[in-house]
């Protein structure tokens, strides 16, 4: 017989059949950890490389969620003309897109264009109420000037823009061909800025109708006169008649005047200006050859546009160096390989250039196997290209003749700091006259930075005690452009524990994504391209929204719940109400599974106790 048990049902403090009565929640297993996960939103690489400083990731996320109105408001905070940049920006955001390591980068520009075009259909906005006393003058209505004026007006200042040409837009109107940027798009975007209160006066050129004396009535001035002077080619025969410079040629076309060119045109150059000159001359009816000294991939233009130019019929001669331009007499003497046409009437009807020729030489690599070596002239590489017009597009530089003498500048640029301040108090500068790549995006970005600088300057002058913002904190990442949203401190995108570091590709967990091909924009067939009609037809709204779903949303939590599902300790929960995720550090053991499984790097591990 077993011994009789005590009356109590407990043996050594435990009942005969032990039945649990409580959960394990009393155990603070969180005390085990030595690393701690935190939700920490980072900067997407697209944001950090956007020269304008657009919150691209935030915009893509709103489009993905179908919130198109909010998406275009977020876009318009930073970029005054998305329909324009969606068409002609060189989109470095796409080159830095983390998705390129997975399949192809997200077509950011197509989504931007769709949003920009939607915004064009919106009714014009009401004028911004002037809440500031300062008055600013902007010289030049190109992208830099317009961006500066736009941001200042939105901050509540009175701004006058002075434009030397008959119509506003600067380089957007007089340099970018209409087949890339239809004038109705540009006009409507400028109209929207005017509706907000940007006052643009055209036909007023600095140094002629507009004097520095007159400008003294403004509190501050933004110089954005751009780079219009073409560089010379520097070969014999450059002063012959029948030679034009690329920017002058495009300016004439942009102004609606057909410049005189011959039936055969040779363009010399290696950038998008050269390419646009070639395609424009083609549309004016000429047969066009483009001479470029480098290899195909060295051409400083969007490869897609190079392809389009070739499809349209521009013959590009790569690795060909121009040596001299020959007049008709010399041509006859030397016996050109291809005899020049007899004198033909210019396209516009007026008699134009004598037959002439561009003498050039084809280069080849010293070691033909492709492994290095310097380019050397090819045997039999000499040729003379016959033409009636030679267009030289060797790059551009600004014209500083009209600047005040005490403004510090060298041959090609005005010295400015990161807020666009020049050496002269109250004078700011940006766009083509400062040291920056000559792109539309950089111009828009420099105008924005100057607007911030001018705001600080004018508020200080008005006697306000201004606390200078941390400029590093305004940038997306370490080198991105300033964000107006960050400057104003009213980000509509909900962020958690934001850090200003870029979420690189190593932070993306690609296992959570499925391949999805990048959507390609429709373009008009080369045979259907007539005159200056827009070539690129973009994506439909549906396609663009689908394209936005390809975005990884690098660095920013979009509530996909991966962390919550994979936590072995049930330590991540979604709060009722604001739906935010929270980590219970009482129980989180710091394993780090959530940080590894986060598809977009929005969770970081930090050392416990620090």
């Amino acid at each position: 017989m077993p011994e009789k048990r005590p009356d109590s049902e407990m043996v050594h403090g435990v009942p005969e059949v032990a039945v649990s009565s409580t959960t394990t929640m009393a155990n603070r297993t969180g005390s085990w950890k030595y690393t701690r996960p935190v939700f920490q939103d980072m900067v997407a690489p697209c944001n950090a490389t956007c020269a304008i400083g657009v919150d691209i990731e935030g915009t893509m996320n709103l489009v993905r969620e179908g919130r198109l109105v909010e998406a275009r408001e977020l876009l318009l905070r930073e970029n005054p003309m998305p329909a324009t940049t969606g068409r002609i920006c060189d989109h470095p955001c796409e080159s830095s897109c983390n998705r390129k390591s997975f399949d192809q980068p997200v077509a950011v520009h197509s989504v931007e264009r769709m949003l920009g075009d939607l915004a064009l259909e919106d009714p014009l906005p009401a004028a911004v109420v002037r809440i500031r006393t300062g008055k600013a003058a902007v010289i030049g209505s190109g992208p830099a000037g317009l961006a500066c004026a736009y941001h200042l007006v939105r901050m509540g200042y009175e701004v006058s823009v002075f434009e030397g040409d008959e119509e506003p837009g600067g380089t957007l109107r007089y340099r970018v061909p209409e087949f890339q940027l239809p004038r109705v798009v540009l006009d409507r975007e400028i109209e929207r800025m005017r509706a907000l209160g940007v006052d643009i006066r055209c036909g007023v050129r600095l140094g002629r109708q507009l004097t520095w004396k007159y400008l003294e009535r403004f509190d501050t001035v933004f110089l954005a006169t751009g780079a219009h002077r073409s560089r010379a080619l520097g070969v014999e025969g450059e002063n012959l008649p029948g030679i034009q410079y690329g920017l002058d040629f495009l300016h004439e076309v942009g102004a609606g005047r057909a410049p005189e060119i011959g039936a055969r045109v040779v363009v010399v150059g290696g950038d998008s200006v050269a390419l646009d000159c070639a395609r424009t001359a083609l549309r004016l009816g000429a047969e066009v050859q483009l001479v470029f000294w480098g290899e195909c991939e060295k051409l400083a233009a969007d490869p897609a546009e190079v392809l389009e130019a070739e499809r349209e019929g521009v013959e590009i001669l790569y690795q060909t160096v121009p040596l001299a331009i020959r007049g008709s007499e010399q041509m006859a003497e030397e016996g050109a390989r291809e005899p020049a046409n007899t004198i033909s009437a210019g396209i516009s009807g007026a008699p134009t250039g004598m037959p002439m020729g561009l003498e050039c030489i084809r280069m080849t690599l010293e070691k033909p196997d492709g492994y290095g070596g310097d380019p050397i002239p090819a045997e039999d590489g000499r040729q003379v290209l016959s033409a009636q017009t030679v267009i030289i597009a060797m790059g551009e530089e600004p014209d500083f003749d009209l600047l005040p003498l005490d403004l510090k500048h060298d041959q090609v640029r005005v010295a400015v700091d990161e807020l666009g301040r020049t050496s002269k108090s109250a004078v700011f500068a940006g766009g083509g006259i400062v040291e920056e790549p000559h792109t539309i995006a950089h111009a828009l970005g420099s105008g924005k930075r100057a607007a911030i600088g001018m705001d600080l300057y004018m508020r200080e002058r008005a006697g306000e005690k201004v606390e200078a913002p941390s400029l590093a904190g305004l940038r997306y990442g370490r080198v991105g452009n300033f964000s107006i949203t960050r400057y104003r401190g009213d980000d509509p995108v909900r962020r958690t524990g934001e850090v200003n570091e870029v979420a690189g590709v190593e932070r993306i967990n690609m296992a959570h994504f499925a391949p999805m091909p990048r959507r390609v924009e429709r373009r008009m067939k080369p045979s259907d391209r007539e005159g200056f009609e827009e070539v690129n037809l973009g994506l439909t709204q549906k396609e663009a929204v689908a394209e936005a779903t390809r975005c990884f949303n690098c660095g920013t939590c979009n509530q996909c719940e991966m962390c919550l599902i994979f936590c072995p300790d049930v330590a991540i929960t979604r709060r009722e109400g604001d739906k935010k995720f929270s980590i219970s550090y009482k129980y989180c053991k710091g394993c780090g599974v959530c940080a590894v499984e986060c598809p977009r790097g929005a969770i970081s591990m930090t050392r416990e106790g620090l």
Partner: protein, 298 residues
Amino acid sequence: MSQIQIKDQIPTGELMSSGHFACPGCGGSLAMRLVLKGLGPKTMVALPACCWTIVAGPWPQSSVNIPLYHSPFETAAAVASGIRAALDMQGDQETTVLAWAGDGGTFDIGLQALSGAAERNENILYVCYDNEAYMNTGIQRSSATPWGAWTTTTPAGHPEARPKKDILAIMAAHRIPYAATASVAYPVDLIRKVEKARAIRGTRFLHVIAPCPPGWKTSDDETIELARMAVLTKIFPLMEVEDGQTWRFSMEHPGDPVEPYIKRQGRFSHLGPREIGQIQLDVDARWKMLERRVEMGI
């Protein structure tokens, strides 16, 4: 959307609570959490000795909010059969009886009870969470330990010399209505299989790969990645077998090379290129065999 969305496909109810005593990054505890999401609160567990004996908590605690019965090592299937019989006596057909055992309690010690229950086609769901050794007692080899692996009983000088036992084929050979494999890295697939198994009567068997950071000598945060790589390399393919005859793959297996998977784990760190090449050959050969099974039925 390009991201493979899982959030709306995972039941939100939680039957497991925080504060359990599993190691950081434990694949086995996540496996239980996901399986219980698929089964819901009408579940009773028979639990033999295994890691989960500890994870479930010391009396008077329990980390699962359902009845869980601790039982001797070799008896999971027998105890589950008994619970099932008792429920049947009570007229309760709704409750699922879950036998939850590790690889030791399934492949080795509990195999007799499991085989008996399967042969009788007991109406239970048997889940083996497989961390490929006796981890709870200090990483001793089991018959689930893969060829070449280090354990405390198969030291690096004499690593595991036998291939992993083909438990799925053994269970299929019992002609039970449903047997399947799953991975904690594929929660949607895992829960779909649990829900499917729940709706079937008879013996159902689920084999879940559950990486173990201390036993595999990996960092705590790699659990899901390893569970995913095991599938993508075809080392642990996701499959279903119905009635022991119809074999099916649950997804496309790209067949990534095994080397990165092997190299990430300290338990394989003594292996050279020749041994890793041998593992690749074995995986490829086994895959061919599985393809034949899928093609012809066994």
